[in-house]
Structures are given as structure tokens and as C-alpha cells.
């Protein structure tokens, strides 16, 4: 997997286009009011007993490469080959139901889930997403059309993609629960394209995604595309999901001593 990252300081206002009146999916998860969380969550039970941190970090996320120093780094770009799919890629195609017996919170089963990612795609997809006898994909970026991740609420879907080595999905639009699960788990960046790039990119093309500039560059075709800003969901994925983000920002107590 070729995912390059660089580090910058975290900035919650990295997205100047962010606006609370603009109803786009990327705002659905977290928008400014939630940053004041501690004051509106007085009745939460204290998080007293925590499992050791290494248990959590053993699960790779979209930010796996930086997980050793998550508080000081920020993913700003992804670089790798892309795998291109069409519209309405549902969760049965991302991870067919027969593999849902695997429990994502168990590390060994997490890895197994990854090895089945996108195995439900029909035979019309000539190139396999994961080659036979492999557990990881060669494609760190998935490019899709509209309504990516529709269907069931199975969190196994973004988890399988993340576990397979996907860092980001770029689609025209997402089904609500898939988008939310992607952010909640921090497994993958669910990015939105402004145009229908799934018809202009081919599986295997070399892609760079610049997160800060909300830009996708296809080095194979030489074309550049604008992405919709990820907004406040970005820092949550960056942190490794809602729990990690909430701890990092002081919304909920950090590790018990």
C-alpha cells in the first residue's frame, strides 16, 4: 500500500468553505455545535476503566501510519493506485453477508474482514480488488459513483475497506449510514467528488489526493479534479474515529491512569 502522509499542525478551521447552512453530507456527522460537547453532556457516565492503549492502536485505521504519534500529525495527502467502481455500490457488494460472522472489534477477525473487501462485486469487474491468496489490496483509493455504500447499516463495510488497506473512497455521493460509519470508525476518508470521476479514471491509475486543497490528481491521465471539503469530519477520521477524537479534544476523559 502506498499511502504517503505529511505532517502539519491540526487546525479545526482548515476548511474556509465550511458553512452550517449548506446541507451536504459531510456536515452530517459533526458540525460546530459538537465542539462544545463537554458542556452539554453533563449526564454522561465517567469513563473509569479503560483498556490499555496498545489494544486500541493495534487496529489500523485510515491513519495507521501515524498512529504512534496521533496528536501531532495530520494526514494531508494520499498517494496510490485507484480501484474504480460504479453507482450504488451497496454493502452486500462491499462485504457479502456470509462474512458478517466476523466481529470487527476482534483484531484477527478484523484482518480477515479486510481480505473479503469488495468480494461481492459482480464478475463484470475483471480486475480483482484483492488478488487471490492476498489479504490486502494494491489499491489504496477506491473511486465510485453515486450513493456509495447503500443498503445495510453493517459497519463491517467501511471496516473491511480500511482493513484491506484503503485510505480513502472518492464518490459522487454516499448513503448516509455508510458515511457515518466511515467517520465514526475513522477507517476511511469518505470524500466526495464534484464531478463524475468514476467515468474518467481507470482501475490502476496513479492518484494523489490532497486533503487540504480538496484536490484529486490523476497522474496517469494528467487530469486534476476538485473534491468537496471533508469539513469537520476530517479531524474525527484523522484521530481514528469518534471515541479517539472525543478523547483527544477533551470531550470525554482521556485514558484512566
Amino acid at each position: 500500500m502506498a499511502v504517503c502522509r505529511s505532517t502539519t499542525a491540526i487546525s479545526l478551521s482548515r476548511n474556509p468553505n465550511f458553512s452550517t447552512t449548506n446541507p451536504k453530507p459531510s456536515l452530517s456527522f459533526l458540525s460546530p455545535p459538537c465542539l462544545k460537547l463537554p458542556s452539554i453532556l453533563p449526564s454522561f457516565k465517567p469513563l473509569t476503566s479503560q483498556s490499555p492503549p496498545d489494544q486500541r492502536l493495534s487496529i489500523p485505521r485510515a491513519t495507521a501510519a501515524d498512529s504512534a504519534t496521533p496528536t501531532t500529525t495530520s494526514t494531508t495527502f494520499f498517494h496510490g493506485h485507484c480501484y474504480v467502481v460504479g453507482d450504488n455500490i451497496d454493502t452486500d457488494q462491499i462485504i457479502p453477508a456470509e462474512y458478517l460472522t466476523l466481529v470487527p472489534s476482534k483484531p484477527d477477525e478484523y484482518e480477515k474482514l479486510g481480505s473479503y473487501a469488495l468480494i461481492g462485486l459482480p464478475a463484470t469487474y475483471k480486475t480483482r480488488f484483492i488478488e487471490a491468496n492476498q489479504t490486502k489490496t494494491k489499491y489504496s483509493i477506491v473511486i465510485g459513483g453515486e450513493n456509495f455504500g447503500c443498503g445495510s447499516s453493517r459497519e463491517h463495510a467501511p471496516v473491511a475497506l480500511g482493513a484491506a488497506g484503503v485510505a480513502a473512497v472518492v464518490a459522487e455521493s454516499y448513503a448516509r449510514i455508510f458515511f457515518r460509519n466511515s467517520v465514526a470508525t475513522g477507517e476511511i476518508y469518505p470524500l466526495e467528488s464534484e464531478v463524475r470521476i468514476c467515468e474518467e479514471c481507470k482501475t490502476g491509475d496513479l492518484i494523489t489526493i490532497e486533503l487540504m486543497e480538496s484536490k484529486l490528481i490523476n497522474h496517469t491521465s494528467g487530469k486534476e479534479y476538485k473534491l468537496k471539503p471533508i469539513g469537520d469530519a476530517g479531524p474525527v477520521i484523522e484521530a481514528g474515529g469518534i471515541f479517539a477524537y472525543a478523547r483527544k479534544t477533551g470531550m470525554i476523559p482521556s485514558q484512566a491512569p
Binding site: 447552512t21 446541507p23 453530507p25 456536515l27 452530517s28 456527522f29 459533526l30 458540525s31 455545535p33 459538537c34 452539554i40 453532556l41 454522561f44 457516565k45 469513563l47 473509569t48 476503566s49 479503560q50 483498556s51 489494544q55 486500541r56 460504479g86 453507482d87 450504488n88 451497496d90 452486500d92 457488494q93 457479502p96 453477508a97 456470509e98 458478517l100 460472522t101 466476523l102 466481529v103 470487527p104 472489534s105 461481492g120 459482480p122 464478475a123 453515486e146 450513493n147 447503500c150 443498503g151 445495510s152 447499516s153 453493517r154 459497519e155 455521493s173 454516499y174 448513503a175 448516509r176 449510514i177 457515518r180 460509519n181 465514526a184 470508525t185 474515529g241 469518534i242 471515541f243 484512566a256
Partner: protein, 512 residues
């Protein structure tokens, strides 16, 4: 693949629409600050009436604190977040009344709960967590069996009040607590109540909207959070209103209504939105039919679906819950993103062709499609009334099925009903007798079954590339097992008629 716009998926449909005078469909945009380009675009094409129609039922805000008009869903959010006023787009922390999980997502949710809150943490309320093993039950799959064990251990540790356990897989009746399919069991066991918030780790949790409550599907991580806190950050959705008027023809079922709507607005037409159902047709529907309607809002991408609670709802709840509930209703001046109107008297039996729930066609248009099997079951089409509908068609025809016909009751109660309730007009025969005479397979143990494929040894799973007419909810590639299998989604009437001919068949061939 499904069309991404609201325009009909195929040119043939446009012709058909004109032929049949189904101009009954119209949509009008209500004044709204929300910009949803797709809806507005289509609304512009189809405006017939710009005025919001008079509604049958008008109830004042029950809380007395509402300052401006809100929809039913907005009011539930307001109450659950303890705010007097909310607008679509607001992100609020919502108090959860009930959290449901099952054997597929339960173990992962429990794993996250323990990881984040600690191995000894307790759930926020042992009486508000409902755990229902239902998906992969009657299988030799060791991991599937283990997952039910994980649920049991957790429920014992946490002293969870509502755990519908199964230990004896050989005979479901030997398990006094086992129910079956979660969404139907939730209703039958009194966990669905007007005005409340129900979250579940299953996308068809939206089924409970039939009770005038907010119900939606969430992932494991969110469920882990809810287990620990009883709250979740949710965004208030804008509401689409679907007004269905007219007496329901006796060859139609709620499944036809929802397939019509999904075909109209596409599989992403309601993404992030609430779908509210109203009109005289909806008012006439039974609770089970309302559940079918709300069950498939997720197939249009909807966040939730709601039917306002009324005397039908209250009657259903009479012997099911003692917990007080407070129904809420959309204000007269509530703002809906778009209103759609349907004259149901003009609707014909529908199917969704492979491989998308919005790939709508008339059943009679598909009469040359040869099928290999019929499947009756799931949260969508495995309720008592669904089987009654199938029995009605078999009874009317007096014939035998021409293809294998699999019957999977959703719950223990449904299973019992098949063996005890007399089918009207049959001279006292039960569904099970009629099914046996028609040559169907014996009703299986209640479970989600082959609706979502599942382990290879799942009863009625499509292990070969066969063509199936199914009363279930999804027909994505591979959904019921084999990737090259073809699933036609249909009402129980249409499924039964198709079983009798071996082709996709309009039920009017037998019901008229």
C-alpha cells in the same frame, strides 16, 4: 444500475405512465430554505399543484412549548434533545429510548463498548437495551453460533431485561424466549411506541416508524457509544411528505406502495431525509402494512419513515405495552422539503427488477420472466398478514405452485399464526393447511433466513444463479446468496401469483 435522478429508470416507464394515466403522481416543492438540487429539479418538472393540501388530521403541539411549526420527526428530535425548537440540519444530542442490536452487529457493538468504556462498564439502562438474535441462527457455522453466545454472556453480565435467547437450534419452539426477526419482534413485544427514539444496529430499524416514532439504523461504533451513554449526536433531517389517497384496490399491498415511491424517487432520493406518509390510503392501512411501508424507506436512502399514530396504532398497542407514550404530529404549517401525491386507485401491482429496489416495473410487464423459486419471508414480507395474503391467492386459484416456494415466518408469533388462525373465506383452514395443499415447503423456523444470504447452509439461500420472486427488501447482486442470482422484489400477492405460474405474475390473474 439504477438511475440516479428522479426521472423514471427506463423510457418504457414513461410511455407506460402516460398510457395508464398515472399522472396521479405529482410533487410540489413547499417553500423551504433547504437546497436539495435533485428534488427541486424534479419538482420543477412535475408541479401540478403549488398549494399544500388540507390534511385530515391536525393536532396541536402536545408539549405546548413549540413556537413555530415542526414536522413529526422534528418534534420527536426536539423532545428527545430537550429543546423547544429545532430545524432540519441542527445537530443535537438525542436521548435514546430503546437500543436494539442482534447477532450480526451486537458482538462488534459490545466489543466497542467494552474497549471504550472498560471491561467492567455497565450499559446506561438495562431495560432500554433489547437484544434479539435473529440473523444467523439455524446454521452449523461456528462463528455464527459463537456470536449468539457472545450476546448471551453480555446479557447475563449486564442483566439485560429483554434478551430473546435461543440455545436449542434443533427446535426453536424449545426456546421460550426466542422470537425471530428483530423488527417484527420489536413491534410484537411492545418495544415500539409513538413519539420515542429507537435506534438499532440494522438498517431496517426504520420499520418502527410505523408507530409514529423516530427509528433508524446505526453502526457498531455508534451503538457502542449509545450502550455507554444512552445518547447519540444526530442531525435533524428535513422531511419529504408522501400523501397517498384513495381506497386501496384489493390486489395491492403496502409493498406496492413503497416500490412505487422508491421507483419514483430512486434509491438515493431520500438520503439524509425523513419520509412521512399520510393520506386516506395510509390511514386505512393496518399496523403490519404500515411497517412494510416504513421498512423500505432505507431502500430510498431515507433516514427514517413515519406514519402518524392514530386509533389503529393505539389499538395495536393496547395489550403490548404498559409504558406511557405521547404521540406527536406534524403541525399544519410544518415545512416539508417536497410533497408527493399519489392516487392509489390507479396503481397496479409492481415489482423491482434485479438488481436495484428502484428498478420498478409493472408485474404484468414482466409476465415472460421465468422464475425458479419464490421466497416469502423477512421483516418486510414475513409477517402474519403477508402469509394471509399469500394464502388468499392460493385459495382463490385452487392450484398448486409450479416452483419451489419457501416460507420463512418472521417470528414465533407469525409461525404460530400460520398454524392457528383461520384464513377468511377458507371454511376454517389455516395458512399452513393451504400452503401444504398448494405444494409449498413447510414453514421454516423464524429467522431472517435467506433474505440476506447468510452462511452457506442457510435455508432457501440462493446457492445457484437462479431467478427468485421475493417478498424481501433488497435485490442487490448477491444479496440472497449467488452473485448471478436474480431477485424480483414483489408483494406477497404478486409473489404467490408468480409461484402458481412459474413466471412473474400480476395477482389480478387470480384475485379477480
Amino acid at each position: 444500475m439504477a438511475s440516479s435522478t428522479i426521472s423514471p429508470p427506463s423510457a418504457s416507464f414513461i410511455v407506460k405512465k402516460k398510457e395508464l394515466g398515472r399522472s396521479a403522481f405529482s410533487s410540489s416543492s413547499s417553500p423551504s430554505p433547504f437546497s436539495v438540487p435533485k428534488c427541486n429539479k424534479s419538482a420543477a418538472k412535475k408541479i401540478v399543484s403549488a398549494m399544500a393540501p388540507q390534511q385530515a388530521e391536525r393536532m396541536p403541539a402536545t408539549t405546548g412549548s413549540v413556537k413555530t411549526a415542526m414536522t413529526l420527526t422534528e418534534k420527536i428530535f426536539a423532545r428527545a434533545s430537550e429543546k423547544p425548537q429545532l430545524s432540519p440540519g441542527d445537530n443535537v444530542w438525542v436521548n435514546v429510548d430503546t437500543l436494539m442490536t442482534h447477532d450480526i452487529s451486537g458482538p462488534g457493538s459490545i466489543g466497542i463498548f467494552k474497549r471504550e468504556f472498560g471491561p467492567d462498564a455497565k450499559v446506561w439502562d438495562r431495560e432500554k437495551v433489547v437484544i434479539i438474535p435473529d440473523h444467523y441462527i439455524f446454521t452449523a457455522d461456528k462463528l455464527a453460533n459463537r456470536n449468539v453466545d457472545i450476546l448471551r454472556d453480555f446479557c447475563n453480565d449486564q442483566n439485560i431485561k429483554y434478551f430473546y435467547d435461543i440455545k436449542d437450534l434443533g427446535n426453536f419452539k424449545a426456546n421460550p424466549d426466542y422470537k425471530g426477526v428483530c423488527h417484527v419482534a420489536l413491534a410484537q413485544e411492545g418495544h415500539c411506541r409513538p413519539g420515542e427514539v429507537l435506534l438499532g444496529t440494522d438498517s431496517h430499524t426504520c420499520t418502527a416508524g410505523a408507530f409514529g416514532q423516530f427509528a433508524t439504523g446505526i453502526g457498531n461504533t455508534d451503538a457502542g457509544f449509545v450502550l455507554g451513554t444512552g445518547k447519540l449526536l444526530l442531525k435533524v433531517p428535513p422531511t419529504l411528505k408522501f400523501i397517498m389517497d384513495g381506497e386501496m384496490p384489493d390486489y395491492l399491498l403496502a409493498k406496492d406502495l413503497i416500490l412505487q415511491i422508491i421507483g419514483e424517487i430512486s434509491v438515493a432520493g431520500a438520503t439524509y431525509k425523513s419520509m412521512e406518509f399520510a393520506g386516506t390510503t395510509v390511514e386505512s392501512l393496518t399496523m403490519e402494512e404500515r411497517m412494510t411501508l416504513c421498512n423500505m424507506v432505507i431502500e430510498a436512502g431515507g433516514k427514517n419513515g413515519v406514519v402518524p399514530a392514530d386509533s389503529t396504532t393505539f389499538k395495536y398497542l393496547e395489550d403490548k405495552t404498559t409504558i406511557p407514550y405521547e404521540p406527536v404530529y406534524s403541525d399544519a404549517q410544518a415545512r416539508f422539503l417536497t410533497e408527493y401525491r399519489f392516487d392509489i386507485t390507479k396503481l397496479e401491482p409492481l415489482v423491482a427488477k434485479p438488481h436495484s429496489p428502484d428498478n420498478r416495473a409493472l408485474a404484468r410487464e414482466c409476465k415472460d420472466v421465468k422464475i425458479d423459486r419464490v421466497y416469502i419471508g423477512s421483516c418486510t414480507g414475513g409477517k402474519t398478514e403477508d402469509f394471509m395474503a399469500v394464502a388468499k391467492v392460493f385459495l382463490a386459484s385452487g392450484k398448486k405452485v409450479k416452483v419451489p416456494t419457501f416460507l420463512v415466518p418472521a417470528t414465533r408469533k407469525v409461525w404460530m399464526d400460520l398454524y392457528t388462525l383461520p384464513v377468511p373465506g377458507s371454511g376454517g383452514k389455516t395458512c399452513s393447511q393451504i400452503f401444504e395443499e398448494a405444494g409449498c415447503d413447510t414453514p421454516a423456523s423464524p429467522t431472517c433466513g435467506a433474505c440476506m444470504g447468510g452462511p452457506r447452509d442457510t435455508y432457501a439461500r440462493m446457492n445457484k444463479a437462479v431467478v427468485c420472486v421475493s417478498t424481501t427488501n433488497r435485490n442487490f447482486p448477491g444479496r440472497m446468496g449467488h452473485k448471478e442470482g436474480q431477485v424480483y422484489l414483489a408483494s406477497p400477492y404478486t409473489a404467490a401469483a408468480s409461484a402458481l405460474t412459474g413466471f412473474v405474475t400480476d395477482p389480478r390473474e387470480f384475485l379477480q
